[in-house]
């Protein structure tokens, strides 16, 4: 826990995301973006943890994240994604979707494109709750139950799916390039909204979700409407769930109860080593995947797991007694999360 320090930033953080690093480089991520909520003046900010040339640094050096630049944001930042190296898409509680561009040279931010009030009710604004992008396409969902598709370079809206649901859509993710999965409700006896969803980076039919009761569910979307496994994760709403992008045996969840859990499945002993993860192996493992129904050992351990079988390890990553952890992001060995206690935690040595 020594490598985790809190930085107090005077704004409640609703979302944090690492800037993507190119696959070929071995660099650790060094810049992340945050969005605030519940302020009179909300902001998006870019921070640096100074990981350039990290190999030359001392073991014990843990610098605080430094603020690079920030920009005013209208309404709470409800979701935030990096479109590419310089641009982020944010969705707002006023129903607007905005693309901001981060100018690295001058360390300024400018609004690149804006679609105000795309999510709305007839007489009111509807908060836009989730966004997912695969440049240049952007898909957003909102409390009005609409799914809207944009292109980053075009003014207007490409497509609107009205009344996708009469309830609020909380989260969205890409299943395949042409399919998206939205997240509303699920039941197991009680009706419970799901708040977050993430797709397994390698096996696209596996999806993990977190809900209002803090349960972590892993689903196989090919097979029906009940989850494959259910695990009791948190004692309050789970806000985000993320598979580690290059090492998907690791899963991270964060919740309203103030905890951030790191889930690790133990791998099968007969699993070929090149599938066991690691940054540089990600490209190889994707192409080497045999079609489903073949090799038994390629079925993800997530689908067979249930915590009582002892194959799942969880560790708390934050000191206890923090307020709700609203968001987390993990890339390489670095994890960043933001809380309602107006603090950001960065961990540079996540054991994956």
């Amino acid at each position: 826990m020594e490598s985790v320090n809190a930085k107090y930033v005077s704004q409640k953080i609703s979302k944090t995301r690492w800037r993507p690093v190119s696959h070929s480089s071995l660099q650790q991520p060094d810049i992340f973006a945050t969005g605030s909520w519940d302020n009179e003046d909300n902001k998006i900010s870019f921070w640096s943890i100074g990981n350039h040339g990290s190999s030359g640094m001392d073991e014990g050096f843990e610098g605080d994240p430094q603020l690079l630049c920030e920009h005013k944001h209208d309404g709470d930042v409800l979701d935030l994604q990096f479109l590419d190296q310089d641009r982020i898409v944010t969705t707002s509680s006023t129903g607007a979707v905005t693309i901001f561009r981060h100018h690295q040279n001058s360390q300024t931010i400018s609004v690149s494109q804006r679609w105000p009030r795309v999510h709305r009710y007839p007489c009111d604004n509807a908060p836009c709750t989730g966004v997912v992008c695969s440049s240049p396409e952007i898909v957003t969902v909102g409390e009005d139950g609409k799914i809207i598709v944009f292109r980053a370079d075009q003014e207007g809206v490409i497509r609107v799916i009205e009344n996708a649901d009469s309830s609020t859509i909380h989260a969205v993710t890409y299943l395949r390039t042409t399919e998206i999965l939205t997240c509303i409700l699920y039941l197991d006896d009680v009706l419970l909204p799901l708040h977050c969803v993430d797709r397994h980076p390698n096996q696209q039919h596996i999806v993990a979700t977190g809900g209002q009761d803090g349960m972590l569910c892993v689903w196989d979307v090919r097979q029906g409407s009940t989850p494959f496994s259910l695990m009791e994760a948190h004692s309050a709403e789970m806000w985000e769930v993320h598979f580690h992008p290059t090492n998907p045996d690791h899963l991270f969840t964060c919740s309203e109860d103030g905890s951030l859990l790191h889930w690790e499945t133990s791998t099968h002993s007969d699993m070929p080593s090149f599938l066991q993860g690691g940054r540089n192996n990600s490209m190889i493992s994707r192409s080497a995947m045999a079609p489903a129904g073949g090799n038994q050992s390629l079925i993800s351990t997530w689908l067979s797991g249930d915590s009582s079988k002892g194959r799942l390890e969880t560790t708390h990553m934050l000191p206890s007694q923090t307020l709700s952890v609203n968001s987390l992001d993990v890339l390489g060995q670095c994890l960043v999360c933001g809380t309602d206690g107006e603090a950001i935690f960065v961990n540079r040595q996540v054991p994956v």
């Binding site: 005077s10 509680s93 908060p127 009469s166 309830s167 039941l187 709403e237 923090t322 603090a343």
Partner: protein
């Protein structure tokens, strides 16, 4: 009400014009003032002025203070009661140091901004905040030394020395300047630095500085050597050592006599500066008072005087010295500042006076709330019942937390403070939490989670109702339904089910099938909701061609009478296609029941008042027509069954 402690402060409202009357209304943390037309005629003013007492919670840098101290506060509450008191004391001291380091970090950041900003207003504002924080930290540190650490005679003086050194940073700056100059010993501030070191009891550094002077004046070497010896031999009490206080006292007196002898011998008479230092070492008050500028505060004077006159001072004796030092140091004409009286009260061990004076002097309850809470944990506050019924600690925490609740963002912190006020915290929270504006569902969920965890069911219901109404207004029926299910609000669920049913009647199809199909046991929340779900199930069964099950369900719906009256006709009409099927679906009993219902419905239609309007009459007549058709169908069905029975075939329902 008792008499006021201080005169109330006057705040001018700059935008309000002269001679006008102002009306006002109290808010939770502020006052709204507006011009009224009470007396003279004239044009009104359309402005409302918001007068706020506490600006600090809106300062971005001070916000970090509130957040970090909240973290420390929550940690403090969880210290176990059953630890031995010695362990607890070290923990409390470390928590106190934590608080202080948070204050210092904030101070440094404010100072940086105050220095680097180009806007004059910001610079002054931040500068003021820095001085307030400095004062706060000074007071807290003293309270830590005297109350929490509660050092006995001996270590007490050492702690006080540390306290003074920490808060007099300019000595080091000056020293740096002097040492970095070409010839330190000839710098004009040189002797000031040496004397300051001596006044603070930092003899090592003083000796090192003196060495530089000594090398410049070889002729006076013996004198410097003597001074060096005197400085090095001054005894300091060692708390961890084996020496008792009495032994130390004896040693110290010996040393004191030796210094006195040097003075009497005029050993330093030829060097004015060394003579001054010698007099200081012997504790001569007049010499000390001559160096008011270097001391700069009466409490520095106090500690120095104690150092050189009474190093074994007991805590209970402090206030005599404090009072006399303050009187000696300050001008007779000058009025003591609030800070001075607070510190004096602390030296007198009058905790309540300290808290009271701080509450008056500061515009924010942060400091007194946290300090009192810590002191209460150290069991230093007598239970002091206020007129309001709760004790001092709780009163201050409630005030502080209520102030936080007025902030658009910091209200979440206040929840934990209310949790730790056993008597009134819950009530305060109940009243305040309903006023948090709910712009998004996510925020509503967070507020709900807070309420549910504390069993505040009234508030849960009220919040869910607000969200459900909002959803209903925007025609998001599914959302509204899930909110009312969460609140377990049967009445609202009924309302929404009615809307669903109206929708169905208007459009012929259901919306939100996903939600309705998957409610599970939640559908039992209200009769109407159950009806809705079952009705939808009936439709599903019909679409899947499972006619006999559909028929059974439909019949149970009709006979169970959970349908609204307006729907009976629709239900019976739904029976029509089933009756029209080639196979006989209804059993004899079922057809009996159908007939019965139909008769009931017909009679109720016939007894409708004659004065009903045209549309109603049209509806009634169309209903009657349908009833007649149904009757025919049912009779036909019945006869089909009877025939089948007579023929001995298996009829459904047997």
């Amino acid at each position: 009400m008792e008499e006021l402690d201080v005169e109330p402060a006057i705040t001018n409202i700059p935008a309000a014009s002269d001679g006008k009357h102002l009306g006002f209304a109290w808010g939770p943390g502020d006052i709204l003032a507006y011009e009224t037309l009470y007396m003279a005629p004239g044009s009104g003013c359309s402005f409302i002025h918001e007068v706020r007492k506490d600006e600090d919670i809106y300062s971005p840098i001070l916000r970090k203070l509130f957040n970090e101290s909240h973290h420390i506060f929550v940690g403090l509450q969880t210290i176990r009661e059953d630890l031995p008191s010695k362990n607890k004391k070290t923990q409390f001291v470390s928590i106190s140091k934590n608080y202080r380091s948070v204050i210092r970090a904030c101070m440094e950041e404010l100072q940086q901004v105050a220095v680097s900003t180009k806007v004059a207003e910001v610079a002054t504002q931040y500068g003021n905040q820095v001085s307030i924080l400095l004062a706060i930290e000074l007071i807290w540190n003293l309270c830590e030394v005297l109350f929490i650490d509660a050092a006995p005679a001996g270590p007490l003086l050492l702690h006080l020395l540390d306290w003074v050194r920490l808060h007099k940073g300019d000595v080091d700056e000056k020293a740096r300047e002097v040492l970095q100059s070409e010839s330190p010993a000839e710098h004009h501030d040189y002797w000031d630095v040496v004397v300051s070191y001596v006044l603070q009891g930092r003899f090592e550094e003083a000796r090192q500085m003196l060495v530089k002077q000594a090398t410049l004046q070889p002729a006076a070497r013996n004198m410097y050597k003597l001074m060096d010896t005197l400085l090095s031999k001054m005894p300091f009490y060692n708390p961890g050592g084996t020496q008792t206080l009495t032994e130390f006292d004896v040693k110290w007196r010996h040393w004191h006599e030796e210094v006195d002898r040097c003075l009497q011998d005029n050993s330093f008479a030829s060097n004015q500066h060394l003579e001054i230092i010698c007099k200081i070492l012997v504790g001569d008050e007049d010499t000390l008072l001559e160096h008011k500028e270097l001391l700069s505060t009466w409490y520095h004077f106090l500690v120095t005087r104690l150092l050189f006159c009474h190093p074994t001072v007991k805590p209970t004796e402090l206030h005599y010295y404090a009072q006399s030092c303050m009187t000696m140091f300050l001008d007779l004409r000058s009025v003591p500042e609030p800070l001075d009286s607070i510190l004096l009260a602390a030296f007198e061990f009058d905790i309540h006076q300290v808290i009271k004076d701080c509450s008056i002097a500061l515009n924010n309850w942060w400091f007194v709330a946290h300090l009192t809470d810590l002191l209460d944990h150290c069991k230093l506050l007598q239970s002091h019942n206020l007129h309001f019924g709760s004790n001092l600690r709780e009163f201050l925490l409630l005030e502080y937390a209520s102030g936080l609740f007025t902030h658009h963002s910091l209200w979440q912190l206040a929840v934990d403070y209310f949790d730790n006020c056993p008597e009134f915290g819950h009530v305060y929270l109940e009243l305040q939490i309903e006023r948090v504006p709910l712009d998004t569902e996510r925020k509503a969920l967070k507020v709900l989670r807070i309420c549910e965890q504390r069993q505040m069911s009234e508030q849960v219901r009220s919040i869910c109702k607000i969200m459900a109404m909002r959803a209903l207004r925007n025609n998001r029926l599914g959302s509204a339904l899930s909110w009312s299910i969460r609140a377990k609000d049967a009445a609202f669920a009924t309302l929404i089910s009615e809307r669903f049913l109206q929708d169905y009647c208007a459009r012929g199809t259901f919306s939100d099938l996903d939600l309705i199909d998957n409610l599970g046991p939640a559908m039992l929340l209200s009769d109407r909701l159950t009806f809705l779900v079952k009705y939808r199930e009936f439709h599903k069964l019909y679409e899947e061609n499972r006619f006999s099950e559909a028929a059974k369900l439909l019949l149970s719906l009709i006979t169970a009478k959970i349908a609204p009256r307006s729907f009976w006709m629709t239900l019976l009409t739904d029976a029509l296609p089933l009756l029209e099927q080639k196979e006989v679906i209804f059993s004899a009993d079922q057809t009996h029941e159908l007939m019965f219902c139909l008769e009931e419905l017909t009679s109720s239609l016939n007894t409708t008042a004659p004065g009903t309007d045209r549309t109603m009459q049209v509806r009634i007549s169309s209903c009657t027509q349908t009833c007649n058709r149904l009757q025919i169908k049912i009779l036909r069905c019945k006869s089909a069954i009877t025939i089948a029975m007579r023929k001995g075939k298996n009829a459904p329902g047997f």
